[in-house]
Assembly symmetry: C2
Homo-oligomer: 194 residues x 2
């Protein structure tokens, strides 16, 4: 399915206004990653979302020229790691794929392998995902996937939880084109609908 | 397009794990709204996203049984208001549509009308949207739309900006099933890719 991949010039003014408006909407930050041989391909995304709970379907949005998209299509699987504040340098590095290429690198101290997929050890939550469908939307591709395994840093089998007062538990947040995190206090404890 | 609207029981265990995992991913909070006659239908969403910049395409994800979805399909237009922290009570109220019904109410001091659409006066950013396409994904419908007008609270024609040190400029954020906001400090000033 292709949507509005118009020939001709898009309206740059409304495009710039959209970009500025969207900057007001805060998002978490995650790494989408997959193995290509022994190398990890990974890219920073703030488009991670849950599209359905019954059945569970999650999504990421990727630029159509990203190499990792090809690898995901080939392998049919990828992982998503929700990043803590301490990983902001990595988020910045992997948010700048040069010429559409995502840096491949060996799994070092930051990365492990779980269920055949890369996992960021510091992740607040980690999802193993199986590709369902690609939807082309303008200059991006919406990658729809079924989570097959989900772990959070609060699962005892996952890792020791952060010590009291540590900020290892704080999420990395992207807002007004900058990294920050959430305030430690909460206004309520009730879920919204999506 | 229908995706995995499986007959039979979905895997409740992975569904619950997905819900817990997604709670680690912070999101902004917005109100999708439309007029039905003189009444406003509005629902709280944390699924607002930009799917493409060239051309600009944004999206919200709505439960398929929400009445506002029918109204949007009929009118082909809706607005999205990104909420500031001060609007958390409204976010909570409009996040609980009873039996799939969204409360309609007269535009009072909180709401205005702009380009024929409701706008939340306290919004950090406001989008007028034209429906492009609906994509059924499991139990939700992804509503793809083209922004036709975008304003932010920083636009001089929109409203007087918040005074220095005021928190009227702070976004409402949803994380771990609670409302909060972002820290006022920033880790960097660089954009990530989506």
């Amino acid at each position: 399915m292709k949507l509005r991949l118009d020939s001709g010039r898009p309206d740059l003014q409304i495009g710039e206004a959209t970009r500025r408006g969207m900057a007001e909407f805060a998002t978490g930050v995650a790494l989408a990653a997959t193995f290509q041989g022994d190398h990890i391909q990974a890219v920073t995304v703030n488009s991670f979302a849950c599209q359905s709970l019954r059945p569970p379907i999650v999504s990421i949005s990727l630029r159509e020229d990203l190499r990792i998209l090809k690898t995901i299509v080939e392998s049919q699987v990828f992982s998503v790691s929700i990043m803590p504040i301490e990983s902001h340098v990595l988020a910045d590095e992997l948010g700048r794929p040069r010429l559409g290429q995502v840096r491949g690198f060996e799994a070092g101290s930051k990365w492990g392998r779980r269920s055949g997929l890369p996992h960021l050890k510091s992740a607040l939550a980690w999802f193993a995902c199986e590709l369902d469908q690609l939807v082309q939307i303008g200059d991006h591709v919406l990658v729809l996937a079924t989570p097959t395994e989900v772990r959070t840093s609060r699962d005892r089998l996952w890792r020791a939880g952060p010590s009291e007062g540590s900020n290892a538990d704080s999420p990395l947040v992207f807002h007004r084109r900058s990294y920050t995190t959430v305030e430690p206090w909460q206004l309520g404890s009730e879920p919204t609908s999506r």
